[in-house]
Amino acid sequence: MLLILVMVLTQGPIELAPPTDITAEDRPNDAGGNVVISWTKSADDGAGSDAVQEYLIFRAAQDEEFQQIGRTRKGGEEFVDATTQDGVEYRYLIKASDGTVHSEPGMSEVVVSSAQWFHAGRISMLVATLVISILILWFIRKAKRGEKLFIRRIAGLEAVDDAVGRATEMGKPIMYIPGILDMDDIQTIASMIILGRVARKAASYETPILVPCTRSIVMSAAQETVKEAYVDAGRPDAYDADKIRYLTDDQFGYAAGVDGLMLREKPGAIFYLGAFYAESLILAETGHSVGAIQIAGTAQPSQLPFFVTACDYTLIGEEFFAASAYLSREPLLLGSLKGQDWGKAIFIIILIIGILLVSFGFETIISLLSTGQ
């Protein structure tokens, strides 16, 4: 042991190899103020004397002094300087260090940070967004002008009207569960559209409709939608705001609350339309035990298996969005559905052509579709 100790002490300060080929560039596609500095590790980092513990980064504007602005750990080869001023010329200097001894500095070229007006890596996304948006808006205009747009029959939806009818025959109320997410979720919004239609039918049949909600905004939107449906059906007086109630934000408090409601009210038909998670089975099982006709629709793939097996009809994922279009025959919804169909057609064509190209070695299409950061 002593021999090694002596050997270390007698050696001069360890010479550290400096980091090499330092480059500094303005960070692309940003709002300016960022320079990315990259270098290759010093020969004494991870190899050689392996004494390097960190890298120190220095910066100097035009003709000012170099000041340290940051450091990275051993093995680091990149640093983002997020404090630059656009338009000012900077130079960077990197030193490898083992905590006390510094290596010779490696110098970078002059660099000026700037902001970009367009994110070059997202051209494919711009094209995709424009193409699909234009398709949707174009078909909506066609639908508004009353042109006949064909949509195939959706079995689950015919059951919606039957279910409301049979619940009325049994003299039992209807329960509509708009999912457990908030108004800012697309599934909840689509659910409101279908709620409007179901409420209008329930109002005309004078069947009470219960809508337990788990989010306050959903409760308010549901109250508005159902009130409007009762007014349209010519029964503004029959509308009862208290039947559309907020229970709790907590997923399982809500499931337990709705179960209690089901057991007490014994609804004839239950609609599960919206975003659902694990509580879907508690609801569907209890609804099944109460003997209600159950129709479900959600875009949550993880819950669909249960609805498929426990409910009479299930709108699978996208059919759920199509339901609001098909039910209401409303130009907006029909138009956008057709636009989406064309979007799907384009994706299928890209897939078929793309796979053929790629199978024969033409890989350019893959980089074309990249949605780079």
Partner: protein, 206 residues
């Protein structure tokens, strides 16, 4: 006034978020960050709204006293105790609030979920039927995956776990991907209609 201004607000908020994705330049990145901070604050008030509604309903139940009204006392008491504990003595580890979380909220919430195991078991026996060829395929695939995912499967046939993983990584992945693409287009079209003010159902009546 009641409908025009909200439509304009929705348009501005939506377009800022979309334009910022394509245009990183100065004004857009700052506006987006500003809208992000505003969003978080307004969403909290939506929470308070829901809370107000819950307390309002149960307070009314105390006055009207429908059947089982005393459960509302339990609810309001539970709320009061937890709320006062939290606001009064903080939410750090070891506080009364934390103690109540670990010993009341946690057991009730997780037991609620554990009930599901019983419901799945009874549903497996009483509700899940191979009514159609699709439902049969669903159940067969489910059984293969379930057996493959558990050490027991390994004892039946050592290739079973690999078969289960294959079903997950390829056929299941293909089915999920098709669903995903379909839903994505649905979300794009609904979001577009909302931003351009074509879609107003969420705003409700006149």
């Amino acid at each position: 006034m009641k409908k025009q201004i909200p439509i304009i607000i929705t348009f501005i908020a939506g377009m800022v978020m979309i334009l910022q994705y394509f245009i990183p330049h100065r004004p857009f990145s700052d506006i987006q960050q500003l809208f992000n901070t505003w969003y978080v604050i307004i969403a909290v008030f939506a929470m308070i709204l829901g809370l107000g509604n819950l307390l309002k309903i149960h307070a009314i139940r105390l006055q009207r006293r429908p059947k089982g009204w005393w459960y509302s006392i339990v609810l309001l008491l539970g709320f009061a105790v937890m709320f006062i504990a939290g606001m009064g003595w903080g939410i750090e580890r070891g506080s009364l609030f934390d103690f109540l979380f670990w010993n009341t909220h946690l057991p009730m919430s997780s037991t609620m979920f554990a009930l599901l195991a019983f419901f799945v078991a009874s549903a497996s026996y009483r509700a899940f039927r191979a009514r159609t060829s699709e439902a049969t395929l669903l159940l067969v695939s489910a059984i293969l995956v379930m057996v493959g995912r558990v050490p027991l499967g390994n004892y039946i046939w050592d290739k079973l776990p690999l078969l289960g993983d294959w079903i997950m990584s390829y056929p299941n992945m293909a089915g999920q991907r098709a669903i995903m693409i379909g839903i994505a287009l649905g979300v794009v079209s609904t979001s577009l209609r909302i931003i351009l003010g074509i879609e107003r159902t969420y705003l409700g009546g006149k």
